[in-house]
Amino acid sequence: MSQNDQPLSEPIQEKGEESTIEHQCEEYLTGWKRALADYDNLKKTLGEEKESLRNILHEGVLLRLFPLVDHFDQALRYQPKNEDPALQNWIKGVLLVRTQLEDVLRSLGAEPFGQSGEIFDPSMHESAGSRSDAVYPDQSILEVLQRGWKIKERIVRPANVIINIHVETTNA
């Protein structure tokens, strides 16, 4: 047996080398497969990113248009108190342009929100200040300074509001 043991030791060593090579091959193959998979996944991710980029661009354009509606609203806020029918008719025309602009934004998927009387919700409203009015509920919106906008239920701009804070609760 001892004689047989001797020559056997060599193949064992070879086997060891072989297994190292096998192991290495496996590692390389795994790496290769992983690289291919990564590439394949990258292609998918790029597709998704393209879509999201499109949304971001779309959103970016809309975000730049929202102030136009705000400025129309501001203009109306300061409309002259003049009964002159010609002027009133002119204002009516401007109002129609404003409505048209809002319709365009709606058709592009944007939805305005924020109304006086709603209860303040910081997930969609931003408070710019407060007043106290016992007539209305605490934390209700007294005035909407700037309406908010959402696209597909996502808040892209919170509504800017003045909220009601009952004096007795402010010390809580």
């Binding site: 790496g31 997930s123 408070s127 710019a128 800017n160």
Partner: protein
């Protein structure tokens, strides 16, 4: 194994990132934003708010809205920083043992608990985005944080349900995001101008560590100060124009804030912007409009001193590190404010080298934290680190132009082949002159090697198809081969030093290319026109030869005259004139060519095809392209002149 979340827990905003496919990637929060305000609040209805929603109600709920808690974490009550903040913070800070606590409603919370609320939101939002549980994190802290502050940050992570695998320095994370941890022996300066704080750190990269040699800063200087200055300027200008103070009108103030932000961003890319807010207010005389022009130079005047203020800490940090500014090899910019061109310019002027700004400065720290997380998770080990070619590689072609085969910043391993042809009739050998660099002229670039492919069967210029193949293997070794497609005869060369340039050498070459861009472009254009003209002459002459009797004497004369005219102007240097003469020749030659085609379809195809080939130069790799070799031992450029 779950992903390790890299978190930049900032004083004003926080950001998170994970490794995906070997690369760090920022994860958006639930609201779809890439950064989250580091704010928490207790709403009037008892609801706890974190992030943007906390920020949105801060004005009307200041006592129960907590921000900048990072300024308090891990500090003792008697710490001067805490005593200073007591006066500034609208919320209630109380003594809690030796440390501090914050009163929120009727409860007291430690800064760790408050930070944990932010971290928990980040964790939950990340889980929602990734669709898997996140239990481990790497969190960054300022380099100047002491053990107590680091420990407290770790505790905050644990309260949030995160196993904090490591706390790392913010500047180190920023350097990691740029991969600078591999630049052994380099000194890196990190310039971090955040929302409310300014930090500068000097890093020393060694074999397996990145050591912070010195740190300095200003805990009360940040982007918010810049914004405030712009808002104040707008209010003051309006007051000058209209005599009205808009600072007291909440809506007007909100609109000015938005306008100031927009102006600041626009002035990063333009020289001038309009602040246009119609109907901002009104008085007895009717509505008032805010219309101002803000130039970049005005903006720089408004905030110039704030920028200057950052260089005090920079100098101190260098002094503490016992380094001169020339010892700094890389400057990393962190914080959104560093997008401002003035800041980048001042930093560049100070150090005499361009700072690194390519990674989003709002996200670079979080990305670096994710990289560290990836290393800990073993993800980065599995991923082969791929290198890029720092400079473009190509060969010299007709007119001593460098034709690029592999553009700079291409990830290796990669290969690219292109088919070229000969520049003269009967040319039997071509020299492949392998070049590296960004300049269009061969002589301005670095020669990597040359070899000759000979024994090309003699034929008309433009006919032989010689495929040149560049192959860079994973070790950055470049193999260039040239094969004559007709005979399959092949010559090749192996260049080992293709990526072995030093950083300085690469920078110098890039800078030179930038500096000479304009004149190089002119030179390239000039040679291009000469090459086109030369091809035009060759094609026209060949066409006349081939045509024989098929052209009338009159037509022949016209083309010949145009050829003579073009040859004449080519003795001069005015490429506009050369181009004009070449166009005229082309027109006459085309007329004749068209006639030949019409009279004898098929046979005359040869000449026509070549003319077409010469004009439709930058085609695919299948067609012989216009960039031809100059023959060895043949003084092609001078012949062309």
């Amino acid at each position: 194994m779950s992903k390790i979340l890299g978190i930049d827990l900032g004083t004003t905003n926080s950001c998170m990132s994970v490794i995906e496919g070997g690369q760090p990637k920022v994860i958006e929060n639930k609201e779809g934003a890439r950064t989250t305000p580091s704010m928490t609040a207790l709403a009037k209805n008892g609801e706890r708010l974190v992030g943007a929603s906390a920020k949105r109600q801060a004005v009307t709920n200041p006592e129960h809205t907590l921000f900048s808690v990072k300024r308090l974490i891990g500090r003792r009550w008697d710490d001067p920083e805490v005593q200073r903040d007591l006066a500034f913070m609208p919320y209630k800070i109380v003594k809690h043992g030796d440390g501090v606590a914050i009163r929120l409603g009727d409860k007291e919370h430690t800064p760790e608990e408050i930070s944990a609320m932010i971290l928990r939101k980040l964790k939950e939002d990340a889980e929602e985005r990734l669709g898997e549980k996140v239990t481990e994190a790497v969190i960054t802290v300022p380099a100047y944080f002491d053990d107590a502050q680091r420990n407290a940050t770790k505790v905050a992570g644990e309260i949030a349900g995160l196993n904090v695998r490591r706390i790392i320095n913010e500047p180190t994370a920023a350097a990691l995001a740029y991969g600078f941890d591999k630049k052994v022996g380099q000194k890196i300066l990190v310039y971090d101008l955040g929302g409310g704080t300014f930090d500068v750190s000097v890093l020393d990269v060694s074999e397996d560590t990145v050591e912070v040699k010195a740190t300095n800063g200003d805990t009360h200087l940040g982007g918010d100060d810049f914004d405030r200055r712009i808002i104040e300027w707008i209010i003051a200008e309006f007051k000058k124009q209209e005599g009205m103070d808009l600072g007291k009108d909440p809506l007007a103030l909100q609109r000015i804030k938005d306008a100031a932000e927009k102006a600041k961003i626009e002035l990063s890319t333009t020289q001038q912007t309009e602040v246009n807010q119609p109907f901002i207010s009104s008085d007895a005389n009717g509505p008032k409009h805010l219309t101002l022009t803000l130039t970049r130079s005005k903006l720089e005047e408004i905030v110039g001193d704030l920028v200057e203020k950052t260089f005090g800490p920079v100098r101190s940090a260098l002094q503490d590190a016992k380094l001169g500014k020339e010892d700094i090899q890389e400057i990393v910019m962190v914080g959104g404010m560093t997008r401002m061109p003035l800041i980048q310019k001042k930093v560049e002027d100070f150090f005499g080298k361009k700072p690194n700004v390519s990674v989003n400065p709002d996200e670079v720290v979080a990305l670096g934290a994710a990289v560290q997380g990836g290393v800990l998770a073993g993800e980065v080990r599995d991923v082969l680190l791929l290198d890029v070619t720092p400079l473009s590689l190509g060969i010299e072609t007709l007119g001593s132009v460098m034709t690029v085969l592999i553009a700079r910043n291409t990830t290796v391993p990669t290969n690219k082949s292109q088919i070229f042809s000969t520049a003269a009739d009967g040319q039997t050998s071509v020299e492949i002159h392998v070049l590296q660099g960004e300049r269009p002229m061969a002589t301005d670039n670095k020669t990597l090697g040359r070899f000759i492919l000979s024994d090309i069967p003699p034929s008309s210029r433009g006919l032989p198809q010689i495929e040149v193949k560049f192959d860079i293997d994973a070790n950055g070794i470049l193999h260039v081969s040239a094969t004559d497609k007709a005979t399959n005869k092949k010559q090749e060369i192996t260049i080992t030093a293709s990526t072995g340039l030093s950083k300085d050498e690469i920078e110098r070459m890039k800078k030179e290319a930038e500096m000479h861009a304009q004149e190089d472009e002119k030179k390239r254009e000039y040679i291009e026109h000469r090459n086109i003209a030369e091809t035009m002459i060759y094609t026209a002459e060949k066409m006349l030869r081939d045509a024989g009797e098929k052209v009338t004497a009159e037509e022949r004369k016209e083309v010949e005259e145009k050829i003579t005219a073009l040859k004449q102007v080519m003795e001069g240097d005015d490429h506009a004139v050369i181009k004009k003469a070449a166009d005229e020749l082309s027109e006459s030659a085309q007329k004749v060519g068209a006639k030949m085609y019409a009279s004898q379809e098929g046979q005359g195809a040869q000449g026509g095809q070549e003319a077409h080939g010469a004009q439709g130069a930058q085609g695919g790799t299948e067609e012989p392209i216009d960039a031809e070799f100059k023959e060895k031992n043949e003084d092609k450029p001078s012949e062309n002149n």
